[in-house]
Symmetry: C3
Subunit: 349 residues, 3 copies
Amino acid sequence: MSKTNPGNYFEDFRIGQEIRHATPRTITSGDVALYTGLYGPRFAVQSSDVYAHRIGFKSAPVDDLLAFHMVFGKTVPDVSLNAVANLGYAGGVFGVPVYPGDTVSSVSTVTGLKQNSNGKTGVVYVNTVGRNQRGEMVLDYNRWVMVVKKDQSAPAPETVLPELPTVVSPEALQVPIGLDASDYDTELSGSPDLWDDYYVGEKIDHIDGMTLEEAEHQIATRLYQNTAKVHFDQVAASAGRFGKRLIYGGHVISLARALSFNGLGNAFKIAAINAGAHANPAFAGDTVFAWSEVLDKFELPGRRDLGALRLRLVAVRDRRESDFPLRTEDGKYHADVLLDFDYTVLIPR
Amino acid sequence: MSKTNPGNYFEDFRIGQEIRHATPRTITSGDVALYTGLYGPRFAVQSSDVYAHRIGFKSAPVDDLLAFHMVFGKTVPDVSLNAVANLGYAGGVFGVPVYPGDTVSSVSTVTGLKQNSNGKTGVVYVNTVGRNQRGEMVLDYNRWVMVVKKDQSAPAPETVLPELPTVVSPEALQVPIGLDASDYDTELSGSPDLWDDYYVGEKIDHIDGMTLEEAEHQIATRLYQNTAKVHFDQVAASAGRFGKRLIYGGHVISLARALSFNGLGNAFKIAAINAGAHANPAFAGDTVFAWSEVLDKFELPGRRDLGALRLRLVAVRDRRESDFPLRTEDGKYHADVLLDFDYTVLIPR
Amino acid sequence: MSKTNPGNYFEDFRIGQEIRHATPRTITSGDVALYTGLYGPRFAVQSSDVYAHRIGFKSAPVDDLLAFHMVFGKTVPDVSLNAVANLGYAGGVFGVPVYPGDTVSSVSTVTGLKQNSNGKTGVVYVNTVGRNQRGEMVLDYNRWVMVVKKDQSAPAPETVLPELPTVVSPEALQVPIGLDASDYDTELSGSPDLWDDYYVGEKIDHIDGMTLEEAEHQIATRLYQNTAKVHFDQVAASAGRFGKRLIYGGHVISLARALSFNGLGNAFKIAAINAGAHANPAFAGDTVFAWSEVLDKFELPGRRDLGALRLRLVAVRDRRESDFPLRTEDGKYHADVLLDFDYTVLIPR
């Protein structure tokens, strides 16, 4: 019998099935350095132990998206090796901060199954929880993917759809214990704009563009130990639909988030991922631009130092004009839109 | 007189000569992160301090091949700056594990010399030992290279050929002190297959492919402080035989080893390098695939938790079919074979 | 009002203005690893904790140019976002060594202003001081850039030109406290040549060449959190004068410095930057070679273990001949010269 991992096919998943994913990972300052080199984030809290300590962190925490990619990467061999589409995210909550030296593991539970009418594929919903070496939750999120069936004659499972929130409610957000932003320094953070300066409906063009390179996304995706074949193998890609290696969608999220510093320089902490769509595939040679929209503002119960912003972060390919492209008249994503990401940040007031 | 390093020519080597190589190196978690980003290894022992500690390591040890490249890289300015071919490896034994923070140095002894009949080149055999800051051996291996003569009228030295083993015997393998794999977790390691599940003669197609990029191999080779000019200088390469920069052979070893995780996910520790040939040069743009053959199985004296497998690891260029290419009918390596590497791993039983 | 950083225009600067730059940065062993991978420096002091400790450092200090890039990078959003030319450096002095774990911040003071006769641009002189978390100076240097005016009708400021030294005097050089090179090991350092072996007027061809890749300079420049747009955005570059992304000048300095190891292997510590010109822009695909000239030799007051060399380091594109190109007959830089860098090193005697 083959010793290589075949991954799971649609008929292999069962409601309630728990998958303890392989390769626990100690995240180090080396991972952080590489993350900085790959995207160029400039949030002071994640860049400086001194700055982070001053507002209550033990030291500079790891970028929330680096933690996300590490937790996510582990799920690929079990959940999405035979996926044909990454359909969505919901109800993502970040827990305790991850610090260099922490070891992160992931466990997923199958929460929904729905075979497609063509009988060839089905949608699998998983809830994934990443924990540190003390068992503390660092990230809890839901994801659903379309997975192929290996045996098309396998019977369709009973359809079960999980109840997923369209937005993580302010009450569910976790503010790191000890965090006190009342002494937050906006000169060193690089932006004067705080929670009160943003309004619902505001759109921000983040201006800067970055061109994607093959070596960069490959290094990133391997760093996350994400094994999806489409990102690495040009021989397979040349025989495929696009003729090119596809860039891991998370690479685009991180790049857009780093670009969003220019306009959201104090939104240093991602508290929730509400939803996300990889609208179009990205390829090496694309130049990524980003814009944001303030979807909502939340006060945080009992806090005067911090508020939350619900943001839409859109990554766009090869367009410098600030016309905030998203969808065309027929409701489909514009062909140049790569990412439509709905998330919630903590930002000092 | 020139202050740049001319390297050693064939006539500069003497039997018994000991070379204390320059640039001792402290290996850090930064080097480990970059190594992960460059190849994507997924062995749990090297990825997680917690996992490694549970089976007796102090913390996650550095990938054995990262240690190899660091020890090897130091020898290049003295041994192979004027080499025209890297002919072989033998009798490589890994000693104590390398941990982030350890400082590694290399010393080589010339053990063999044989001038070629053309009078222009000769073969130099060296034994190289890498040690940590406590003087403990981390790697002891033999290598032979063909080196040019600068002065073709220099007299040929007496031919001396060292006795080299064709395989490192099981008795010579060093199991890290304290390692106890009886509590090894195959769920977190990502593979159910242990020593008993492999049989001699078994071939494993590792399936996945990775395309090589110039930036990647250059970053890797510089990380190892390997100064061989052929990897970096496109001006010289354009005037040369291939027209392209050659990729450091060790880069292909590491990539093939990382690919071999898919099928050998519990073979977490390289104990020996028995032999190795860089069958054909690799270039950016090549997509590397790998397959393995189980050449032998060894029990380890007095141990029920671990066994050893002698493996052939073959890296192949741009071929996705699992036809296990190696040599053509005339006994030469197939033109698409990049690496034929014979090594021994420790794997839980 | 826009929330993105517009940068400062010429008319925004005032003599005596102090700018506390954003994004303090904790420099880690991860940053060091990436620096090694990007340039391949081989100085033993920066490579080995053991070697560095033996001559009086706490552990291996960070490469001086890595510290430079980190201090410099922070100034870009405030000083040179609207710059059209990086005109020069002067009076750069390195202070206490930077070790992994140190947090570096930058403050600049405007020391000179001179509007150009065209009324569209002006020259801004800044003195920048980088300090560690204890407030100790790690780098103090002057830089002047040509910056555009946003409002061309804004009145010209009074012209003020700072007095800047053409060379940092030996008395102003800072030798790290505790450094004692009397026990310096030239075998492990990789070069036998010490201070006494160099003579004023000596030229050294560093021989080796390295070809620049887009992924490499982008990763480097993001690592330094340098946000200059010209390095990253191919869409903008395609519409510009060169059609290509420009490589951060500091990337070329670091590459040339690493190449200079071959000929200056004991010049392990940069003590001063006297002057520097980015003679021509560098692009991906260029192969960089380097040569040095010994401009001066200084004894250091009261020390027999160390001396100083004032060096010119020249980076050249795509030329392998050791003809030491610099300027053409009309006094302009040769079109293939990328860098003319005047700096002072400490080197054991």
